[in-house]
């Protein structure tokens, strides 16, 4: 296998707290073209029962991506980033990320395997408030295209 299997079961310590800013939430929602007022308008968000604007459901990936960066760019893992595509992603929510949250993210590499000539890395991130309230768990599969050893792939 081209990727270093020693990375399996590694857990990365809680990230530096991530401050969820109202304008960042709006910027992200605008980038995906989503005008849902819950993402933009504080009064609408409050009328729905939230403390402030909430982030779109795929926003947690921004935190997990940042948190996993250290592993993905670690030369010892052996990942060529231009060969990387995203294979799968899943979120399990306790509640939406909300502007004003201060969140910590603990990431793990759950597995590295080969399939059809590709290397697949399974990652998980637990996102909680500093006080320990669970907000969302993200599960992802990162695919390194065509890098698996020939005898194991194709």
């Amino acid at each position: 296998m081209a990727l270093n299997p020693d990375f399996v079961a590694r857990t990365y310590p809680a990230s530096a707290p991530y401050q969820v800013g109202r304008e960042k939430v709006r910027e992200f929602a605008t980038a995906i073209g989503d005008s849902n007022p819950a993402y933009h308008d504080v009064e609408v968000a409050r009328s729905l029962g939230y403390a402030d604007v909430i982030a779109p459901p795929t926003f947690p990936f921004v935190l997990s991506f940042k948190s996993m960066g250290a592993a993905m760019f670690d030369p010892d893992l052996g990942l060529d980033y231009s060969r990387v595509v995203h294979g799968e992603q899943r979120f399990v929510y306790t509640r939406p990320i909300t502007a004003g949250d201060t969140l910590v993210c603990v990431s793990s590499i759950d597995g590295i395997r080969s399939a059809a000539g590709n290397d697949l890395i399974t990652v998980r991130a637990e996102i909680s408030t500093e006080a320990g309230e669970h907000v969302v768990t993200t599960y992802g599969v990162i695919v390194s295209r065509g890098t698996a050893d020939a005898e194991k792939g194709s």
Binding site: F28, A31, L48, P56, V62, S82, H86, G87, R90
Partner: protein, 142 residues
């Protein structure tokens, strides 16, 4: 924190309003900036094609975000989403022209669960081909 759709008003097979999304290079740039994912395959055609991709491709997470909008627009309150997952089965190539790629997303209630939860299955296609697999959302209805 409640969906605008009532659990009692849906059955297995109820369709949710489908939508089409235009993905152009500018959208990939905006998504790169907002998300922090600056992988060159999303903005550099020279490198994207050199590693065997058909063109610059959309971030899988951008495709997922658009698929999710079909569900959250139906719900009204995006916080009614309990679980959301997809497989990125085919890259969405985004040519350097004035139209980009068209992503079409539809959804159907596939299963009614307990506690006012239902599972919605989504279909996402671009250029006539399915681009997401096992695209499913579990949502809490009113």
């Amino acid at each position: 924190m409640a969906a605008q759709v009532r659990y009692d008003d849906v059955v297995v097979g109820t369709t949710i309003p489908s939508q089409s999304f235009s993905l152009q290079r500018i959208n990939l740039m905006m998504y790169a900036g907002a998300s922090g994912d600056f992988n060159v395959i999303h903005w550099n055609e020279r490198i994207a094609t050199s590693v065997g991709l058909p063109n610059v491709i959309a971030h899988g997470m951008l495709t997922m975000a658009e698929a999710g909008r079909v569900v959250t627009d139906w719900l009204g309150d995006p916080g009614a989403l309990v679980e959301f997952g997809v497989r990125m089965t085919r890259p969405v190539a985004v040519p350097d022209d004035d139209t980009g790629a068209l992503l079409e997303v539809s959804g159907v209630v596939a299963e009614k669960l307990s506690d006012s939860l239902v599972r919605v299955d989504l279909t996402a296609t671009s250029a006539g081909q399915t681009v997401l697999g096992r695209a499913q959302a579990v949502v809490r209805l009113a």
